[in-house]
């Protein structure tokens, strides 16, 4: 289990996070919701090692973990897919999946080994791309999102953080990506989903964690929660 414990972070005069805690279990999709400025991105950045917290921190299986930079986070099995995907559009799907982690013998790329495991990975995630050797520029938005998510799995992570994965997608492609998120759960991964779209959140998550003004503002089992109660927690109407 990966947890954020009592995380606080201040940017100048702004208290971005105050004593925020969050538990992430294997095989569970947790949706992190909240209004703009609620502290979602700051919390994600702390877990992903992009910024350091002022106090509190991340524990892995109860042990405090030292996460000083994104590399540490990756080594500890925390993988993040940012909203801009960070794909090289001129490279093909295989090259993007293994970017920076190329399988190679001496300095020579093992093209066949990478393509074989790329196909296996995409097939196991049921991602359908007709020709994985074409540049990513030629794929649809949903396919690109799928490639970005698949890439997060290359390092065999325990936790995958998805930042607004459906924000730029149409209805059908959103459904594809949500299916993909369910398959990540079936693989036993912990998934942290940041989203503004409550319909998506309700469709795919097991648990909803609400942040408001940098504090924990409620936690729901998705199956039991109504849309109204979540919205109330986000806006503070209930308080």
């Amino acid at each position: 289990m990966i947890s954020a414990k009592n995380v606080s972070k201040r940017y100048g005069a702004v208290q971005a996070l105050q004593e925020v805690s969050l538990d992430l279990h294997p095989g569970e999709v947790v949706a992190l919701v909240g209004d703009n400025g609620a502290g979602k991105s700051t919390l994600v950045k702390v877990i992903a090692g992009v910024v350091g917290p002022d106090s509190g921190g991340v524990t892995i299986d109860g042990e405090p973990a030292h996460i000083g930079n994104p590399h540490d986070a990756q080594r500890l099995g925390i993988s993040t897919v940012y909203q801009d995907l960070a794909l090289c559009e001129n490279l093909d799907v295989v090259a993007n999946l293994y970017l920076g982690a190329e399988r190679r013998k001496w300095s020579l790329l093992s093209h066949i080994r990478m393509e074989r495991s790329a196909r296996d990975l995409l097939t196991s995630l049921d991602v359908r791309i007709r020709d994985i050797r074409v540049p990513v520029a030629m794929l649809s938005g949903g396919q690109r999102q799928s490639v970005a998510i698949a890439r997060a799995l290359i390092g065999e992570p325990r936790l995958v953080i998805l930042d607004e994965p459906t924000a730029a997608l149409g209805v059908e492609q959103t459904a594809q990506v949500l299916d993909l998120i369910r398959r990540l759960r079936e693989r036993g991964l912990a998934v942290l989903l940041i989203s503004h779209n409550l319909a998506d959140v309700r469709a795919v998550s097991d648990r909803v964690v609400v942040l408001r003004l940098g504090r924990n503002a409620g936690e729901f089992r998705t199956a039991d929660a109504t849309q109204e109660s979540i919205v109330a927690a986000i806006t503070g109407a209930a308080a």
Partner: protein, 395 residues
């Protein structure tokens, strides 16, 4: 795994058009241009397609082509190197002064000149990455500054003649005997055919899709035809020039490095999306510095080849239109100015186009004013294709 996934299906016409719109034109526009040039100049002047003239063409290509190859290394990152011409002249002068005035061993002089080129590139790379100066400005300063150093080194005399029977001058006056040329062709065809066969079997063993067998056969056949045709023509004259073999070897070697090593993959990655490359843990700074080092080193080598052709270096070495021709060749050959797209063969094809136009116009005794305008039109066309392709891929 069923049969449908094992053989990659050919593209339908609609998908093919889609690929074209996305800038996947490959080498076809250049090949078309070459055929057009051959037909036009061939019909206007009977000497254009003669073995003697085509052999001269091959000889003229090598120096600027090598500089163009270096330019491609920085263009792949979406940067530019305006100093390549000056650096080529400077390093040729260094080589000439060491080997002639100082009486060094010519090979040692060449090695030192190449090292000087690498050092210049390192300086450019550091100014670009550490001082964050735009590559345009860094290399524009280089264009002027290295030209100045060249003039300073040459001093009063202004010219250094290389002995005609010396090693350097001999480089461009060595011709491969027919048996050696044919052996090289046979080796190239066998290696390329063999590796494509081995690759095909490995892919089938890994249950990966392979292109249809006839397509591989067509490719090997085309390679054989082109190589055999070239050797046949040049053997009818003096033989295959060593200079062309050196240039060709560089093009092939750098293509293999770019496509099959992690370094090459990272070059394309940095050219495609710097931020993605950085987040993937690639040392963007190192790749950038290396690209500038490669560019200047290849420029130095091109300068030495050029000096070898002239058997001299002078104040005009690496000057006039060499730089613009090298950049134009890279772009005409299909290297994108926006980074991340292009192969080393662009240097070979592009310089072939430019040099054919130059050579053809010279045979027709057309004024150089017209030659400049025609070359400019071809360059503008190539950049227009590149820009349209880029727009197609981002919308």
């Amino acid at each position: 795994m069923n049969a449908a996934t094992v053989t990659r299906k050919p593209y339908t016409p609609k998908e093919a058009v889609e690929r074209l719109r996305h800038g996947d034109l490959g080498a076809w526009p250049v090949v078309g241009a070459l055929v057009a040039i051959a037909v036009v100049f061939g019909s206007l002047n009977e000497h254009f397609l003669s073995p003697e003239n085509l052999t001269n063409l091959a000889l003229q290509m090598a120096a600027t082509g090598t500089i163009s190859l270096g330019i491609i290394m920085v263009l792949l990152l979406g940067e530019i190197d305006l100093s390549a011409g000056s650096v080529s002249g400077l390093c040729a002068v260094v080589m000439a002064i060491l080997s002639v005035r100082q009486g060094w061993n010519p090979i040692l002089a060449i090695v030192v000149a190449l090292a000087a080129g690498a050092l210049v590139g390192l300086l450019h790379g550091i100014m670009f990455t550490k001082l964050r100066m735009p590559s345009f400005v860094v290399t524009l300063a280089g264009l002027i500054g290295w030209q100045g150093l060249l003039l300073y080194l040459l001093g009063e005399g202004g010219i250094v003649n290389l002995p005609f029977d010396g090693f350097v001058a001999k480089l461009s006056d060595t011709w491969l005997p027919a048996w050696l040329a044919w052996t090289i062709v046979a080796l190239l065809v066998l290696t390329s055919g063999g590796s494509s066969l081995v690759n095909r079997r490995l892919r089938l063993a890994a249950e990966l899709p392979v292109p249809p067998a006839w397509w591989a056969a067509v490719k090997i056949g085309a390679l054989t035809a082109v190589l055999a045709g070239a050797v046949l023509v040049m053997s009818a004259d003096r033989g295959v020039p060593l200079l062309l073999v050196i240039f060709g070897t560089l093009v092939v070697a750098f293509d293999l490095v770019l496509r099959h090593t992690a370094f090459g993959r990272w070059m394309y990655a940095v050219g495609g999306n710097v931020e993605a490359a950085r987040r993937a843990g690639i040392s963007v700074t190192r790749i950038r510095v290396l690209a500038f080092v490669l560019s200047s080193t290849l420029a130095a080598f091109g300068g030495i080849l050029s000096a070898s052709r002239l058997s001299a270096v002078n104040q005009g070495s690496g000057g006039s239109d060499i730089l613009l021709m090298a950049i134009a060749a890279a772009v005409i050959g299909g290297t994108s100015l926006f980074g991340g797209r292009g192969r080393t063969y662009a240097a070979l094809l592009g310089i072939l186009v430019i040099q054919s136009i130059t050579n053809g116009m010279f045979l027709l005794s057309v004024d150089s004013s017209v030659r400049y305008m025609v070359t400019a039109a071809v360059l503008a066309l190539a950049v227009a294709i590149d820009s349209l392709a880029r727009r197609g891929s981002t919308t």
